[in-house]
């Protein structure tokens, strides 16, 4: 026994052999990690250092080091800006609506598709369902614009079938915009988001369904009382992952379809940052708004992680 334990110790050299001896054995790992470290610092960490510009009156010609420090003045200017409030509200509302729609539609679609028994039909519908995911948001925006145009299919349907007299100008009414964004997301992503649930459904123990058959459960009952509860862990994890993304409410739809008439509801933080930072050259204000967004997102991620810990579901990081 005693000799055995010694042997095991010898087989784990990283505990005994000194640091440098081990380092000599992994030149490839060390060199590539060093290069990747430099890359990571330049492209991921240096931009974070750029946050200092939010506390300066940054002038590109003067540079980071010599620009005048203004403390929190830029944040003050930001919080006094009415457009900023609107942009934040819009981003949050669209993000939350998208999140809710994302889950409800993906889960419902996965449950229903799982009930399709003809294998070919199931495969066919699924292949069609995630096709829009691969189209760019530009294409989707173009499609949305054409469908909702005054001579588009939606207006045609409303006038011919529902008996509306006038075509609705969807891009000139404030009440519609968030729902346009929500339904565009549903069209584009439902099939894709359902993939993970369909994969989770295949892992459900078939005994449960057999037992339910014995008890005379209908198909709907089996779906509602077995499949859906079995998806709970998957749903929780994905929900928590996506909470951190709530402020990424999309960009193209708001940027391209948003116009002066509906800008009160269509402007989002990213467009606000682009407007101020790049078009108006107030880099400091743009950075301040960016920091605000990052911090809120980080808080949401931590909150999600904390909730996951509390409820006993798997942690995210």
């Amino acid at each position: 026994m005693a000799t055995n334990t010694v042997n095991v110790e010898e087989l784990k050299p990283h505990k005994k052999v000194k640091f440098w001896a081990e380092a000599k054995r992994q030149p490839f790992l060390l060199i590539s990690s060093a290069l990747l470290l430099i890359y990571g610092i330049i492209f991921y960490y240096v931009p974070v250092l750029g946050w200092v510009t939010a506390f300066q009156d940054y002038k590109p010609a003067v540079g980071f080091l010599k620009s005048k420090w203004v403390g929190l003045a830029k944040f003050q200017k930001l919080f006094e800006n009415k457009t900023f409030y609107l942009a934040f509200r819009n981003t949050l509302c669209m993000g939350v609506i998208n999140l809710v729609f994302h889950f409800v539609t993906a889960i419902a679609f996965a449950l229903l598709l799982n009930e399709v028994r003809i294998v070919f039909a199931k495969k066919f519908v699924q292949t069609i369902s995630y096709m829009p995911h691969f189209l760019s948001w530009i294409i989707v925006t173009a499609i949305v614009r054409d469908i909702l145009a005054s001579d588009g299919i939606v207006n045609e349907f409303l006038m011919n079938v529902c008996g509306k007299e006038m075509a609705i100008d969807f891009f000139a009414v404030k009440g519609y915009f968030w729902w346009i964004v929500a339904f565009s997301n549903v069209w584009k992503e439902t099939g894709w988001n359902a993939i993970i649930y369909l994969a989770a459904i295949t892992a459900i123990d078939p005994c449960l369904y057999e037992a339910a058959d014995m008890d005379g459960a209908s198909r709907f009952q089996k779906m509602w009382y077995i499949t859906l509860p079995s998806l709970r862990p998957t749903i929780m994890i994905l929900l928590l992952i996506n909470i951190g993304n709530v402020l990424n409410a999309g960009f193209e739809l708001q940027y391209i379809l948003g116009n002066d008439v509906i800008s009160d509801v269509s402007k989002i933080l990213d467009v606000f940052i682009l407007d101020w930072g790049i078009s108006q050259f107030d880099f400091s204000l743009g950075t301040a708004a960016g920091i605000f967004k990052s911090v809120i997102a980080l808080i949401l991620v931590c909150l999600g992680n904390w909730t996951a810990k509390k409820t006993g579901d798997e942690r995210l990081f």
Binding site: T141, S218, T287
Partner: protein
Amino acid sequence: MAKKNSLKRLHVGDIIFEIFLVVFMLIFVVVTLYPIINTLAISFNDGFDTIVHRIHFIPHQFSTDNYKAVFAKEGYRMGAVNTVARTVLGTLISLVVNAVLAYVISRKRFLFKKSFSLFWVITMYVNGGLIPTYLVYQKLGLTNNFLVYIIPGAASAFNMLVIRNYMNGIPDSLEESAQIDGAGYFKIFYSIISPLCKPVYATIALFVAVYHWNSWFDAMLYNKMHDELTVLQYELMKQLQTAMRSAGSVEGLKNGGTTITPTSIRAAATIVTMVPILCIYPFLQRYFVTGLTIGGVKE
């Protein structure tokens, strides 16, 4: 078997459910496909005729002039070249970088395993944001430069994690036996781990390629002043923006006997941009399904 069972215990509810299911799936397929078929029909229809007649599923007056007009445009031609270039180069570079990164991080005996993983995981949650990133790229000379398309996104923590999770599933004994035979870490990566990782490499390659093909924001932000660096999606976006501004106005370009309108050109351009992706994705289904399920379970 299943059919027999269902016949034996037929609930009334089941029939209603079945009917609902069929109707739902039909509507789903039509709603998903209609916009694309409609765009396709408009792209093959004479521009002026599209204004007069409503086009739904099939062209009314067949014409390929819209496509000719698209390919005659300098912007689209340059855009196509750049889009293909960034998709091929960007995917290759990104795949190599992420594979090496995942390999390094997944080695049990790598000296800085913990700290180096943390270094990359942090990048998923904290980023500089639009403006600081812009300023850094400007300083690095990446603005007005093709390299801005392929260098900045090359290493990404998310892609790395997907590959790493896959590599963690490969038994350590393979690496150990190779080491006993005298193979170094590069040799093990190149001849043992990588061949086993082909499925996950394919997944990541697909994700990255689609990302590159669909990107346009970097072209607008960093290379706006250089028309020769444009990409397809950005050209499409510019046309869409013009269409939004001049909504309703019909500016037909008389071109011999046929007419080309902004709408019809845009439809043709849209089809050109989506066709490569639509042709490829059905064949790669099993890869992205694996990728999503691996990627979903972090740590």
